[in-house]
Amino acid sequence: MIEFDDVSIRYEPEADDILTGVDLTIAEGEFVLVVGGTGSGKSTLLSSINGLVPHFTGGVLRGDVRVDGRSTRDHRPRDLADIVGVVPQDPLASFVTDTVEEELAYTMECLGLAPAVMRRRVEETLDLLGLEELRNRPLRTLSGGQRQRAAIGAVLTAHPRILVLDEPTSALDPGAAEEVLAALHRLVHDLGITVVMAEHRLERVVQYADRVIELGGPGQALAIGEPTAIMATAHIAPPVVHLGRVAGWHPTPITIRDARRQADTLRTLLTGQVPTIRAVPDAGSSPVASIDDLQIHHGPVLALRDVDLHVDRGDIVALMGRNGAGKSTLLHTLVGGLAPSRGSVNVDGMDPSGLAGPELLTRVGLVPQEPADLLEAATVAAECAASDRDAGCEPGTTRAIVALLAPEVTDPTHPRDLSEGQRLLLALAIILAARPRLICLDEPTRGLDYPTKARLATILTDLAEAGHAIVLATHDVELAAEVAGRVVILADGEVVADGPTSQVVTSSPMFAPQVSKVLSPQPWLTVGQVQRALDNLEGTA
């Protein structure tokens, strides 16, 4: 169905190849997962399938990409719209019309299908993806999972034989991700559609794939094979695979089921051991931040109600819950950006809403969902200098923190040219310049690969040990399990659970990390904990 014939791609004639010598055949009806670190060329590979690379993006493509026998050399993306359906990373930015039903019809209109055919296919697709209830809804009012399903439906109505998806679940909460993946699974099995998908959150998707393509990065060969074969050696792998490696299981487990069937001996071995928990520094007499009986209105909507939250020195608190449950609202309240209609917010003895400048920055800092929103200078150096001025600290402070968090970032780079992870770390460094007592992060792991995520986890743990209090809103259960001492779950603006991570996340399958699912009822959450316990055993034996 898709053939790559010795394909090399570069964006500038003088630059290095992004992809080199790709030889690849994807058969009809296959579900192929593309994995690789940031900048390894995942998006480039996906976009070359329908000819967006190089027709739309520019650049040089050597070799030949053929889709259903048509070469992208002489077929533009629009000429392949009836075979390849592309679902971009941010569905909202790619919607052309304004309601669900019209969006579903748009591709068919472009293809010139007869009105009766269009009508029938729209109805079928609404049913297939469970969008019937939403047909008249404006696209902007949909939740994340609904948007993603509408975007899939919008290309599906053209009856493409191939579906290309770029990180369809990375911005979604676990429930919405399940919803989207279940829909995809159904398409592959019921309709025999060929699916090519890139995703960082392997723990969510790898079990669905027939084959995995691992991209090593510029200049390196790619590997393709069965998920178990690729995952056995991949640099980028979900926790269950790492657990398999630590425990020495063969074949490498890629699903919870695989792992559980081999986990008996490990569980016996671990009986009597307790997970090591990060030592929390002395909490001090009063909490760094406290929220009491908080109520926030967004216009007529009650965004938060009766919220109580106390964060001590050295605490890392993970806020979890659906998209729109009020996580971001709570964070913005903590930095004083939103005025409560009832209740009080107190950070380091002050109400943050009245503060500005160094007064505010030394108390609380927030890395917003789009770290780029904080950045406004044209170079990293200028950004750091501005940050020193804002925080009223010694020139060079921010630059020193950047060097610590992201040593590879160079001064003259434009912040927009940084990778997603580097930009996040730059924004974090800017926040840290004033040494705020409370640090908030909104969805820090969106679009981060495992190595960057691991780096972030280490940074956060170090900060907590140094006495900062941290609150992070996240959909990433693995990150929460890794770093957070406490998890607060919000639903519909209310706190529905608040307690130690090990208790809260294990009590619901939706929020349980993979290691916990494999080793339950034992209280293990992360591969690191298991590793340390095994090392201990070895040391004593």
Binding site: L52, A81, V86, A105, R119, V122, E133, T141, I431, A434
Partner: protein
Amino acid sequence: MTTITGQVSATDRPRTYPGEARWLHPMAWWSWAIALAIAASVTTNPLLLIGIVVVAALVVDRRKPQAPWARSFAFFLRIAVLIVIIRVLAQILFGAPTGTLAVLSMPALTLPDWFAGVRLGGTVMLEPLLQSVYDGLRLAAIIVAIGAAGSLASPARVLKSVPAAVYEVGVSVVVASTFLPQLVADVSRVRANRRLRGRREKGVRALAGTMMPVLHSAMDRSITLAAAMDSRGYGRTADRSTGDRLRTGVALLAGIVAIVVGVFFLLGTASRDWENWGLAIVALGVISAAASLAFAGRRSTRTRYRPNNWHRADLWTLGCGAFTAIAFSAAARLDPVGMATSTQPPVWPSLPVLAVVGLVVAALPAYFTPVPPKDER
């Protein structure tokens, strides 16, 4: 395809039922609104102009859909108020004191001769002041009428009705119209986030700071959208020869030029002779433009999903608008004094019966048109 031919007719013209929620044809709303604007343009009677604003507001209030773009009406109302205020202020500051009734006296400042001897301030007379209020009201009423169309008919639904030949232009307009609210949202988000860097300053400096991230995200969004549209088949057209394209283009351009020239004759001259010529040229232009659009449209391979259809209520809406425009124009000929309220000397505006009937008719669509479908939000 044979099995579905029966359905084609069914979907092409779905039946409607009384009381059923459906979208009125967007062109019905637009022509109704344009007719209101025409009516506003022929009068300076403040009561009638306020009447037009009230009618527009009433219809919008009763028939606007619950969608984000429908909220723009309030924005147009604000613009309208601003227009009146600016017009009056300009009159107070720069206007010539022609009149006899002084309302306010301010110190005057006459600029030197090399600055055209413009006079600032001075005594404000009632007559020119009233005239400026009426002029401002007229422009405000036109703006409000157009704003009403904008919130009654979604820009995207209007796009569905434009001729296939100008579809490309229509798409850019619609994309721009969805882009603006997004840009506004971006600006407020970025401004809120400036707090996070401890900034409090407002004004030009703050604006410069917000521009960068806002423009960047707008840029990113447009690239994403363009790529998405390309991958979804936008711009697939049947092969057309360059000659064909050139001929349609020239015919369309000639048609538009003819319409403009004709309208100029119609409006710009007093002589009946020229008016007739003007009419003829406009007619020729319309035919030429329509023919080229139809010809070009035949070449497009696009089809339309659930196209808008004209039903009875839609036609009645169009008719109500047309009636109002005609009633106002007729009143302007029959009762020029009533329609153009005198300010020299100032009199209390009268109410020409024909125009009032026109206003009442213009308000009828608020009651007989179907309600728009409800969204869940």
